[in-house]
Symmetry: C2
Subunit: 218 residues, 2 copies
């Protein structure tokens, strides 16, 4: 199909498609004349994946390219692909200053890892982010949220166990790696979304008994 | 103190401080001469909060301004402030097309809300995001992750209950609202970070038994 039909099929503008082609997020079509190319079902599928990772998963163009490269590289294992997807999701975290708060946070996270028996490397982007968040909370006087560390860890341990089991499939490698990437990126968006819903509900119960709680069937 | 000392105390560059002043993220200092102003401890504190929301929480400048406005407005209740912080966190979500997948996702989320007895309004940004993610997962063939909806909901219900209880404090309103905002924004970053750690651990166990699992004390 021509680029106009690819646009119609996916709802992505021709300008965006051309941008993704230039940025390497979409493989080139088959040249049919000096200034025309033909695209196939693989392009439709890849374009939907690109938009999902960017629009719904919140990835950057660079992060999306890294995830796609992992999917396309036969030498990347499922475990490695999961790490690449995590790197893309957490790329936005800026390191905060090294100070006493950062040192204490580092120790707190190391103790958490030992306490829960987690197999987590020091380069894990979540580990770096957790240290940053805990140090920042200490600097801002957010001890109460920091005190929920084990509540968060317990919840995420259950989530991660189910997620990894669900996305892994020892069949077709490319589809499997794609499923891992989609699961890591969109699963994170789903976690954030459900947290937002559950918080409104908890807040309505605790803080605003009245109209907002009227939807409560219980 | 002068702007140079404010910069030294907080580690934020003078250029960034001036940008935040222009954007209304930081209240103006007290004018001491036509081109000099004096800043106080409130500015140090506010500047740390701004950087935490942007650098660690991933908020945009606009989102940060909305959260700060809620903190500064006496007419905003704790419950409302929680909603404002959620809006700022989820502002990045683009709505996806309305199609059959979106309709089914809408129904799935409504059923989840009823099943769990959650008091969640239709305008909740997490609810809109959840519909988008589920519809996107269906379009991409990500049913296995979508099938974890109740696992995610169960985990987030526990998290939200603890979070809302922890951040609420019927004492000083401004500090309380600030704590709610910090808790919502940085708590989300902590959830994402711990999910990343727990996923690596689950993946190491399931997919890469060997060197990565060597850190496992169990």
């Amino acid at each position: 199909m021509r680029v106009a039909e690819l646009s119609r099929r996916t709802g992505v503008s021709v300008a965006s498609i051309k941008y993704y082609l230039r940025e390497g997020l979409l493989p080139p079509g088959e040249r049919t004349s000096p200034n025309q190319a033909s695209y196939g079902e693989d392009h439709v599928r890849r374009l939907r994946l690109v938009r999902a990772l960017i629009d719904v998963g919140g990835l950057s163009v660079v992060g999306t390219r890294d995830v796609l490269a992992a999917i396309d590289d036969d030498g990347v294992s499922l475990h490695q692909a999961l790490g690449r997807a995590q790197d893309a999701v957490m790329a936005r975290v800026e390191p905060t200053p090294s100070d006493d708060a950062a040192e204490r946070a580092e120790k707190t996270v190391a103790e958490l890892v030992a306490r829960r028996g987690w197999a987590v490397t020091h380069g894990n982007p979540g580990r770096r982010a957790a240290v940053d968040v805990l140090a920042t909370l200490e600097r801002l006087g957010g001890e109460r949220v920091a005190g929920l560390l084990d509540v968060y860890a317990e919840a995420m341990e259950a989530v991660a166990r189910h997620e990894v089991t669900a996305v892994v499939d020892p069949g077709d490698r490319e589809r499997s790696v794609e499923r891992v990437a989609v699961g890591i990126v969109l699963g994170g968006a789903l976690v954030a979304a459900l947290r937002g819903m559950a918080e409104e509900s908890a807040s309505a119960r605790l803080l605003a008994p009245g109209p907002a709680a009227a939807e409560d069937p219980g």
